[in-house]
């Protein structure tokens, strides 16, 4: 493991047992997170991005889910192998998580202050008074006004945006090295979304926390991420820096994602072009490229075999899994509305 990498996920496979058989939610996912970096995992619903993030913290419900193979290296340890007891010591202390819906993610019968203090008492061996001090400090840090009053209030007395701030306060209370944010703004108003993103960005700078941001909102990605991992049907199909993904996307699925994003610089008569079709059934995933059935440029080989991960020529970290990268493939250019206008 390189020195500046704090998390490395290698060839992760996660499945769920259902009545119909085994759903292979995550099929060979690899990526890494460097110190102080924000990595966005992007993809449509059901592509395995949440399962990936929850597997890192071993929070997927077992059973029916289980980590089949692969490793999650954090701080020199493979988190898929450590004991549950050891994992409890890592959760909340070294890796913290915030969830999509702040309305349901806080315990309704416990004061917000107590919910922040819990982790501090557990991980930092703080006394009550000390933990309360720290909780007040955290509330102030996440921009909640009059924290002395708010600390004794219950979640239902907080608005949605305030609750997400409180969630961030809980997550960052023990100064974790890595914060996993699972669609942190999806359930919020657009104006509040921007505030929460600004707050996360600001805290990242100040505390030096690395962030894994799970989202399906490319606008959010462009705002806060350093690197992007695009997932489809349980696999990583493209990854690179924000510039690489937004300006020179290589995978037809990424083109599709870009094309379905509303943009200000396009004329009004230009319609959004959604990706037609639906993702494959992960009960019996296709042998070849999972996107082949929806891909305009699919070739015979795409149906038969999954393409290898290839480094895009002339780039630092831009990787893509697509047969179009093969020297023998026809040269296909991305649609005009995708190229050039990547930035917002």
């Amino acid at each position: 493991m390189e020195k500046d990498k704090i998390l490395e996920v290698n060839d992760l496979h996660v499945s769920f047992k259902t009545y119909n058989g085994e759903v292979q939610a995550v099929r060979s996912v690899s990526f890494d997170v460097k110190k102080g970096e924000t990595v966005a995992i992007v993809g449509e619903s059901g592509c395995g991005k949440s399962v990936t993030s929850q597997s890192i913290m071993r929070l997927i419900p077992e059973p029916p889910g289980w980590i089949k193979s692969g490793e999650v290296l954090f701080d020199g340890k493979d988190l898929t192998k450590v004991s549950e007891k050891e994992m409890e010591g890592i959760r909340g202390k070294d890796i913290a998580m915030i969830f999509q819906d702040p309305m349901t993610s806080l315990n309704p019968t416990m004061t917000v202050g107590k919910q922040i203090m819990e982790g501090l008492v557990k991980h930092q061996n703080m006394g009550k008074a000390q933990a309360k001090e720290r909780a007040l400090e955290m509330l102030r840090l996440v921009g909640i006004p009059s924290p002395e009053r708010r600390i004794n209030q219950y979640p239902h007395q907080f608005s949605g945006g305030m609750r997400q701030r409180a969630m961030i306060a809980i997550a960052l209370a023990c100064a974790p090295q890595l914060l996993i944010a699972d669609e942190p703004t999806t359930a919020l108003d657009v104006t509040i979304q921007a505030q929460i993103l600004d707050l996360m960005n600001d805290l990242k700078e100040r505390l030096g926390t690395s962030i894994i941001l799970i989202t399906h909102d490319l606008g959010v990605v462009a705002d806060v991420a350093d690197r992007v991992v695009v997932m489809y049907a349980g696999k990583v199909i493209e990854s690179g820096t924000v510039e690489e993904i937004f300006h020179r996307p290589r995978h037809p699925y990424t083109w599709g994602l870009m094309g379905s994003m509303p943009r200000l610089d396009l004329t009004r008569d230009k319609e959004l072009s959604p990706i037609t079709g639906t993702p494959p059934d992960l009960l019996s995933p296709p042998k070849g490229c999972p996107f082949a059935a929806r891909c305009k440029h699919a070739m015979k080989v795409c149906q038969r075999e999954m393409p290898e991960t290839t480094q895009v020529r002339g780039s630092g970290s831009h990787k893509v899994n697509c047969w179009l990268e093969h020297p023998m493939a026809p040269a296909v250019e991305p649609p005009a509305e995708v190229v050039g206008g990547g930035s917002k």
Partner: protein
């Protein structure tokens, strides 16, 4: 909060008045009178007795007389047990009934909560199925059947505990146990359902993501939320215990209030019927009132909306 309690108290008084009125007229509407069975009493003496108890006056006057006394807390004198006040008789019979009911309640709620939690946490296992069978049986078998079974096997055949009678704690065990089955059954079902619901909530994941131990998560985060609906059914359960105890007291020969009540109806002991009814009603209303307050204590959302109004 003070206003809330005041309003509730006024409702309680009104409810008691309605119950008193309805019971009074229904009771007098029944055929027979306290002296109907005493055929050997000469008519002159009968009239004298009726006059002594005020039964010769027109019904509305009797009603107003009764209400007047009731307001002063006077429940009157028993017709059957000459010269003994109803209050005195309730004081004598209530402790036994209350002890059995309370023991059944405490034991039933404790066991119900534990069983409900375990079966939710071990969902689909043998323990869970066992608890389900137990609670279905608890619902289905009436308490007097259990009372008779316990009395016969534990008391007569095995001779572990007294089969009937009253006096020591040992005497109270079997009747309490017989009554507690319904409590166990209902609380187990409620807690199990609620616990499963709560365990699927997002905030359980938040608690896990904090690195808390499973035990702490269950006790601190899940249990309290799961217990809120269980508290709601404690009111109706108390009623069930009280009415159930009539027969159970008869089976175990316990000098409780249930027996007293049945006896008073058979003998047309007007003041006794009224007295016991009023006392039961008061207890029931009080228990519902307490449950409402308890609800606010456990669930901050209810407490605070109540305070704002």
């Amino acid at each position: 909060m003070g206003r809330f309690i005041l309003i509730r108290f006024m409702y309680m008084v009104i409810t008691l008045w309605v119950i008193a009125t309805v019971t009074f007229f229904l009771m007098h509407h029944l055929p027979g009178s306290p002296l109907a069975n005493e055929e050997r009493i000469p008519p002159e003496l009968k009239e004298q007795i009726l006059a002594q108890y005020g039964l010769d006056k027109p019904l509305p006057v009797q009603y107003l007389d009764y209400l007047g006394k009731l307001v002063q807390g006077d429940l009157g004198t028993s017709f059957k047990y000459d010269g003994r006040s109803v209050t005195e008789m309730i004081q004598q019979g209530f402790p036994a009934s209350a002890q059995i009911g309370l023991q059944a309640m405490v034991f039933g709620v404790l066991l119900g909560v534990i069983l409900g939690c375990i079966s939710a946490l071990r969902r689909g296992t043998l323990v869970d199925n066992g608890a389900t069978v137990l609670s279905v049986l608890g619902y289905a078998i009436p308490s007097f059947t259990l009372a008779a079974l316990f009395s016969y096997y534990v008391g007569v055949v095995w001779r572990v505990l007294p089969a009937a009678g009253w006096g020591t704690f040992a005497h109270s065990v079997l009747p309490s146990l017989a009554l507690s089955f319904l409590v166990i059954a209902q609380i187990t079902r409620y807690v199990r359902t609620e616990m499963l619901e709560v365990l699927g909530q997002d905030y359980m994941k938040t608690a896990r993501a904090k690195g808390l131990e499973r035990r702490v998560i269950i006790i601190r985060h899940a249990l309290r939320n799961a217990l809120i609906p269980a508290i709601t059914i404690i009111g109706p359960l108390t009623v069930a215990l009280m009415t159930g105890s009539l027969v159970v007291e008869k089976i175990f020969n316990i000098p409780g209030m249930g027996w007293m009540f049945v006896d008073s109806i058979i003998t047309n002991d007007y003041t006794m019927i009224m007295g016991v009814t009023m006392f039961y009603s008061f207890l029931l209303i009080l228990s519902i009132f307490i449950v409402d307050i308890l609800y606010g204590v456990v669930d901050p959302r209810i407490r605070l909306t109540g305070a704002k109004e």
